[in-house]
Symmetry: D3
Subunit: 193 residues, 6 copies
């Protein structure tokens, strides 16, 4: 057995990073108890790092018609379509925690059609998957179907933009061979009481 490194590329040390990046990373560490590898790996390119996390936060941290758990469902489902280990494992953990559900991440990663989620959430994921794998075929009928489930056009932008952003993220992680922290695998798996 070989344990692969966390990146194909050099990984900078925290102390060598610019102030703004180091602060951002320390804040995450404080909240999570560890530094998710994506921060260290992408820090190899500071400008791209800053744009990446600015984009991420603009979609994942803002107010939205989608709950945070729903946004993580989109990440997990589309990252599975792209076979991105880092995003499935890390965002799967976050999804379990936000949804307070130890099963939903694996369910959504394998087949959203049969996950323990609502019909509305299934429609959301069907659209996210279309953005991820067949965006050429998106048309008015897709928007109509989502509106019938109560999604506004701004919600639809959110769904599509998250799927699009992780299309980028998944490809970067696959190219870099980004390794998820061991901690993520177990997070949020304690059974419901």
């Amino acid at each position: 057995m070989t344990i692969s490194p966390i990146s194909r590329y050099p990984v900078p040390e925290l102390k060598d990073l610019p102030q703004d990046m180091r602060e951002r990373i320390l804040k995450v560490q404080e909240k999570s108890g560890f530094v998710p590898n994506v921060f260290l790996v992408l820090a190899h390119r500071p400008e791209e790092f800053r744009a990446f996390f600015a984009y991420h936060d603009a979609l994942m941290e803002k107010e939205s018609g989608l709950t945070k758990a729903e946004r993580e469902m989109i990440v997990v489902a589309t990252s599975a379509a792209n076979h991105c280990l880092y995003c499935i494992v890390a965002h799967g953990a976050i999804l379990r925690i936000y949804a307070k559900n130890p099963l939903v991440a694996d369910q959504v990663a394998v087949n959203y059609r049969k996950a323990d989620i609502s019909q509305r959430q299934r429609a959301m994921l069907a659209f996210a998957m279309k953005v991820a794998v067949n965006s050429v075929a998106i048309d008015d009928a897709d928007f109509t179907a989502l509106r019938e489930h109560g999604f506004t056009d701004e919600d639809i932008w959110d769904i599509g933009a998250i799927a699009a952003f992780f299309a980028l993220s998944n490809r970067m992680a696959n190219m870099i061979s980004m390794r998820p922290n061991d901690e993520f695998y177990l997070m949020g798996r304690a059974p419901r009481l």
Copy 2:
């Protein structure tokens, strides 16, 4: 949120099953601490049940040039290619336990090329995936490549037969909407010490 049932079809009660099936199931329950749903769900058709588990045991329980962990890797990798939730979750748990490795099941399910396994195991999984998704193209070169990794022709039969058996199993589980027991999700995830 809707919790889906364990099967689209009626699930017999243990007490109503023929003696041989009941004994088999009780033996598993004793060993695992619970009855994996596949036993209850497939018991709807006793003749098929008996053939299914006879086939399973002939491949998974026998002496082989493949370790039990390696056989479970084949199950997990090919079941992921077929998007079968039951087999990924249940056999992922068994793989973690046999391999004494809490990470390997998720790694193999997403991308065997980057899992923490040996080159020999990667070659094994590459062949298993070809059996699973493109068996028409199997040719002598595939056998040569595996022999170069030290696999005998009987080992190769084992690899292919496991991939083929779970091609059946995955399709049955997807048709039936077979639900994995909640217990499997957490099994074997305690971190290595």
Copy 3:
């Protein structure tokens, strides 16, 4: 021109087989006039042989809402999707005989949508093909569509289980390079009178 052997693996002689296997094979020989190669080739692994044919018989020999010809249609259509020469040729012969129709096997193998079969049979094959190549997407709508053609849920299990069993069989035959007996190619082709 090279005539390929009937298997990549050693083929046991009838006289060296266990009693139960030899009896089964002699019975087939008596009925068909020759021993289909699948019996000899799979006899290389007695335990798997017994489970394989027990499973086969549980699906193909039992009482069912599907006629024997319909069950063979499922075999031929899905084996064509998997490009399995043995099953297309051998079960194509059986289909011609059961259906008393010299054309239907080739039609179903190439494009079930245009075969000389009923609309009900087309719906049956559409579902079998979904089980064969895209089982992740099976949902309630598939069951509803089949019920509208008069299929019971037990019939639907039969359709899916046959498609699933031959998913296994096709992959084994492709891995082993199992060669169909020359006799099958001509069987049942005498024109309708």
Copy 4:
């Protein structure tokens, strides 16, 4: 069971056709003993009929480094990739006759890699299949590989042009629902002596 008609479109009567087309068809009838449906079905459009058969003859009747049996192998393999019943059945019959081999057509239609043909013929069919399904990726390496099997550049044009012509033919037959004559199914199937 419904027997489908030979075409979705009106089929002209022989007596109503222009002289040149009628003569061509009568000549085929004399040689084959029946009129293959492709002649009647395409006669619906005389100008296209004339161009179609002029093209066909320019490839299939001329002197070539490929035998007539080899040219029919190309037709059968690529028509199977396009799921065209008419061409598989009709040209399968012609292939069996030219090759004096009752098995080769079904073998080539399902998986040319395992047919009873030479390595040179397998290389020929690998290229024909690339022209049929992935012509964008053709490059110098494909030409080099064929030259190593002794094919001249003119032979390679022949291989590619036959695959290209039947790309047209298969699509026309599928659009028109062209039905093969019953006679083709049995032709050339008498066993080798």
Copy 5:
């Protein structure tokens, strides 16, 4: 940068061609101001040349329920599906000229669903694309859908036949590495006034 030649094969000189071919080519040159490379490249095989252009003219020059611009849309959309540079560039130019629209060719080549064309034309292209990439699945419902847009059955034959003819043409051009004349890239791009 390497400028590739116009063909992998020898290109005959105009003066060495048979009279009928030379006349045809000179006529095109007079009309267009240059000789499109397809004429020179295919002239390597006179019989095939004659059949090719007879077929082309039978579809593209005749009276039809489709306008000439509509026929060129079919060529461009399906040639893009086949990744054929020659046909996209040359017929894109012709489409711009016939449609008096400098944008429509690029739009149709990338995604006909969003081109500045009518709903009727989108339905036409949806069918043409099905003929091009999935003709096995054509059925009565496709004909019904086109009739609802006012297409006659003869129009539908035209749509399908053009898609089928360029399935041939695209594969020939890709095999031969046929290079479009530089002139085509700019033709018809002057903005609308």
Copy 6:
């Protein structure tokens, strides 16, 4: 004919935008002579706008081992794989200008294997396409192949990151139905002198 709008979503007016965004847009307008629609369309979401262009500039404006023309080749080739009209048309124009080559954009969009570019550039685009459509399969051999063409590991990151960023961009444009400005279609097409 219907001319589609430049976005499915409301497009803000320049005067209503925040100062930083307005300045950025006016600067582009000054340079190009018009405002590319992507600026107006994405301005609907200011935070995402800022992150998008920060990311874009970090990849496309910086010093790199790739020329600006090479970076645009990556955009055009991968955007074609994703069928994104906006990016093919707009970045095709930029590529023609940077490369001072009126043909290369259309060539790269259809089939980079046959474009008038160097072998090194073909290797670059082969990797970019793998990132775009099959990133799960990236492995060490891909890095080795690029290093043999003289690319450094930082160059490889650039190639992959551009392909990844436009995976995002293409999906956004397809979801939004972003329309390219008419001006782009003609830019850079004047023939080489």
